[in-house]
């Protein structure tokens, strides 16, 4: 089975940004060429964060999938090391300036992904990356079962998370009919080093869409989400957030005519009580991030 596609110059940057976002999640990149498009996926080592970017055939200048046999169930499931792919797309500004188009092909026969950048001045850069055959990465999430749905421009979410330092790992999102609050989550006693406690809140009417089925208070990893928010902002896309009770995964998704992107994050079970001034004693130390396995291989 082989997949061949051609990506027009300005879209290469979008592909690069998707890879950047996925690199914040995991160390491996799954390429899944399907009839409905090319999916790029990643999952972190603890299976508590999963990202998927699906580029429809319309995103590409050309997109073809060929099977040696007539069996349509034949697919390629290839897994690449993120460290081999990310450097190719590291500098997006220079890609924007110099890459005219990009050819990608995946062949099970050779176990290689070939990425070619056709650049200005007739320069062609060809990269051969070895891949491992792997089962496809799948995540289970039914957004229809989510009682709480928020939708807002990426800008709003970015403006919310900007108040937290880049090294902040986890944050807690609380929603009630009157207020949406984001605050940093401090795990265990930090000892003599006292950290800044940040809380920001806004009114639900700032969201384009706000559906509340139940008050919820969820804690998840912000670091793994930032790449996706940056992607959404670069395309000015609204972000949909599907929340459930603590312990169930939270889903962030964006879509436009040519692509869909989803990030699923596990949330901490038994999060702190809603009454959230700074706790007078540190919360149960070293509670491991209990999570639902959200991605199965």
């Amino acid at each position: 089975v082989t997949m061949n596609c051609v990506i027009e110059g300005y879209s290469v940057k979008a592909l690069g940004k998707a890879i950047h976002a996925l690199s914040r999640i995991g160390n491996e990149l799954w390429l899944d060429p399907m009839v409905k498009g090319l999916a790029l996926r990643s999952v972190n080592s603890s299976h508590s964060a999963y990202g998927c970017f699906l580029f429809s055939p319309m995103f590409f200048q050309q997109y073809s999938l060929e099977s040696a046999s007539k069996q349509s169930s034949d697919t390629i499931k290839c897994k690449l090391v993120m460290k081999s792919v990310l450097p190719l797309f590291r500098c997006l500004t220079s890609i924007e300036r110099s890459v005219e188009r990009c050819h990608m092909s995946v062949s099970t026969a050779t176990d290689r992904v070939i990425i070619q950048f056709f650049c200005r001045h007739g320069i062609i850069k060809t990269h051969n990356i070895h891949f491992q055959e792997s089962e496809a990465l799948q995540a289970v999430f039914d957004s229809h079962l989510c009682p709480n749905v928020l939708k807002a421009p990426a800008r709003l979410l970015t403006d919310m998370v900007v108040h937290f330092p880049l090294f902040q790992e986890e944050i807690t999102l609380s929603i009630t009919p009157m207020k949406v609050t984001l605050r940093n989550y401090q795990q265990g006693g930090k000892g003599p080093m006292k950290t800044t406690f940040t809380e920001m809140s806004l009114h639900p009417n700032e969201f384009d869409y706000f559906q509340m089925g139940l008050d919820s208070d969820i804690t998840f990893c912000l670091k793994e989400l930032r790449g996706m928010l940056s992607f959404a902002e670069s395309r000015s896309l609204p972000v949909s957030v599907y929340l459930n009770a603590a312990g169930k995964p939270v889903c962030f998704s964006v879509e436009d005519m040519v692509l869909e992107a989803t990030v699923l994050l596990a949330t901490v079970t038994n999060s702190d009580s809603r009454d959230h001034s700074q706790p007078t004693e540190p919360p149960t130390p070293k509670t491991p991030r209990e999570h639902t396995v959200i991605a199965k291989l």
Binding site: V162, H163, K194, T198, E199, M200, L202, E206, T280
Partner: protein
């Protein structure tokens, strides 16, 4: 003990943030001393911070539209806190577009300097952000360390060259040596010198001008009367300390000068419209 200040003017907020950011680049922790009229950022020159001292003074009325404080007792209208300027600077930087920013001393799980901002929004209800930055209240018995060092009995006082130029010179010299000699004379000449086994580099600055301290400096009416204007007063300093000072400066001061006590200390003074910053770099032992 109470403190509550409010900034509603965006230029004041910007300026205050830049001051805190500059301080955060100079030191990891310092003392914040609050009085009814002033705020001071103090780093007493101690062996533990390599003898570097810092004194930064702000007139509160130039920054805060509202300012209320109650000192530790009714007679002592002062509060001294040990603060980490870096998280404070980070908190302030995220609220630059705020309609109003309140700074207050609060007690959460520990004493905190809380930055509370109201951010603009199209909705009827504003966005609110609070950052509780932990601080330590300094007991009164330690306060005598935080008195203003005052201007030392200097040998030469000279205006500094543009800080940007100094910074680029010092940045390059740092690659060659750990120690730098700063020298200046009353003719407005200043040299920055480094010397190693392989190379010596000197950058000469001329016609900088010497501030006229008049009666302010020493009892004999100032060193200028008896001193040969050509003779240099010099101090050998750790180049990284000078570099750190120069790295922190974000705004061009209205006045920048340097007092040199021969083989003893370099006293740098930066004066902005409403902020004065003094930095002491001791001579290398």
């Amino acid at each position: 003990m109470k403190f509550r200040g409010k900034i509603t003017d965006i230029a004041c907020l910007n300026h205050f943030t830049r001051v805190v950011t500059t301080i955060s680049k100079l030191t990891k922790t310092c003392v914040l001393r609050l009085t009814p009229d002033h705020l001071f950022f103090i780093l007493p020159g101690k062996v533990t911070n390599g003898g570097v001292g810092m004194w930064c003074q702000l007139l509160q009325a130039n920054f805060f539209q509202e300012y209320q404080m109650e000192g530790v007792t009714s007679e002592v209208q002062e509060i001294c806190l040990e603060v980490s300027p870096e998280p404070w600077s980070r908190a302030l930087k995220t609220v630059q577009s705020a309609k109003s920013v309140k700074l207050k001393l609060t007690r959460k799980h520990c004493a905190c300097l809380t930055v509370a901002a109201e951010l603009p929004t199209l909705s009827s209800v504003g966005r609110v952000v609070t950052h509780d930055v932990p601080v330590d209240v300094i007991p009164r018995r330690l306060w005598q360390e935080f008195q203003e060092a005052g201007v030392p009995d200097f040998d030469v006082s000279v205006y500094l060259p543009p800080l940007k130029t100094m910074k680029s010179v010092v940045d390059r010299m740092k690659n060659l040596s750990n120690f730098l000699v700063m020298e200046a004379n009353l003719n407005g000449d200043m040299n920055l010198k480094i010397q190693t086994d392989l190379v010596s580099v000197t950058t000469h600055f001329k016609d900088l001008g010497n501030p006229a301290w008049g009666d302010v400096s020493s009892q004999d009416g100032g060193p200028s009367q008896s001193r040969d204007p050509e003779v240099m007063a010099e101090v050998t300093v750790d180049i990284r300390k000078l570099q750190q000072f120069l790295m922190g400066q974000q705004v061009n001061p209205s006045k920048a000068l340097c007092n040199i006590v021969h083989q003893n200390v370099v006293h740098l003074v930066l004066l902005h419209e409403d902020v004065s910053l003094q930095y002491f770099i001791p001579a290398v032992a």
